[in-house]
């Protein structure tokens, strides 16, 4: 699934992956996809909570070699 915008939050501690995500999603239009890469293990629960609270949909979530990848669709 190709994202419209990508954010590299690898190496950043909590809460910066979510902060970068919230900043990036502002620039998208409804339906566009945002991909975020993070290495913070807390980000798994954080992205689920963020999607649930903000209404943006978490459409894809994978992990590869300690790098978490989240794809979200802007509501």
């Amino acid at each position: 699934m190709a994202a419209d915008v990508q954010v590299d939050a690898k190496g950043l501690n909590c809460p910066m992956p979510i902060v970068k995500t919230a900043q990036a999603i502002k620039g998208l239009t409804s339906g566009q996809l945002l991909e975020v890469l993070a290495t913070d293990p807390g980000s798994v629960k954080d992205f689920a909570a963020w999607a649930k609270t903000t209404g943006n949909e978490l459409v894809e979530q994978t992990v590869d070699g300690g790098v978490y990848r989240f794809v979200m669709r802007k509501k």
Binding site: N13, V19, Q23, K26
Partner: protein, 137 residues
């Protein structure tokens, strides 16, 4: 999610201010309005003259805590002022100085870092907090 998060920020050590910045940034990312009310030593840390300085750690940190915080900073963890700037960039974060603490520390509004949006009394803080939670740090 319109329920506000309201942080009364009293302590001026870097560890507690970092905790404040993380709580504020997380709430802002969730779209919650965030109000910070700066009192006493926290307000002192937000002056132009001191914001970039080392503000020490809470007494319970000890030498081990100091080393842990230094290691986190060395690994690239953003200082609290930078985290707060990022939170304000998301929007919905308002930072106010307590007017009594301004008097206590003999400060003028022009002495404060631009992160601070203004000066208010406790009544205005409660009014803006509304039904939202209030946390004292």
């Amino acid at each position: 999610m319109d329920e506000s998060i309201n942080l009364v920020v009293f302590s001026g050590t870097d560890d507690k201010l970092q905790a404040v910045a993380v709580l504020a940034a997380g709430a802002a990312a969730l779209g919650k309005p965030v109000n910070l009310f700066l009192q006493y030593w926290a307000l002192d840390a937000f002056t132009k003259a001191k914001i970039g300085r080392d503000h020490g750690l809470a007494p319970e940190a000890g030498a081990e805590g100091r080393a842990a915080v230094d290691a986190l900073a060395k690994a690239g963890h953003a200082p609290w002022a930078e985290t707060l700037r990022q939170a304000k960039d998301i929007g919905g974060v308002d930072i106010q100085a307590c007017s009594l603490s301004m008097d206590l520390l003999h400060l003028e509004e022009s002495d404060l870092d631009p992160l601070v949006d203004g000066v208010e009394g406790v009544t205005a803080f409660y009014l803006n907090a509304g039904e939202g939670q209030i946390v004292f740090i």
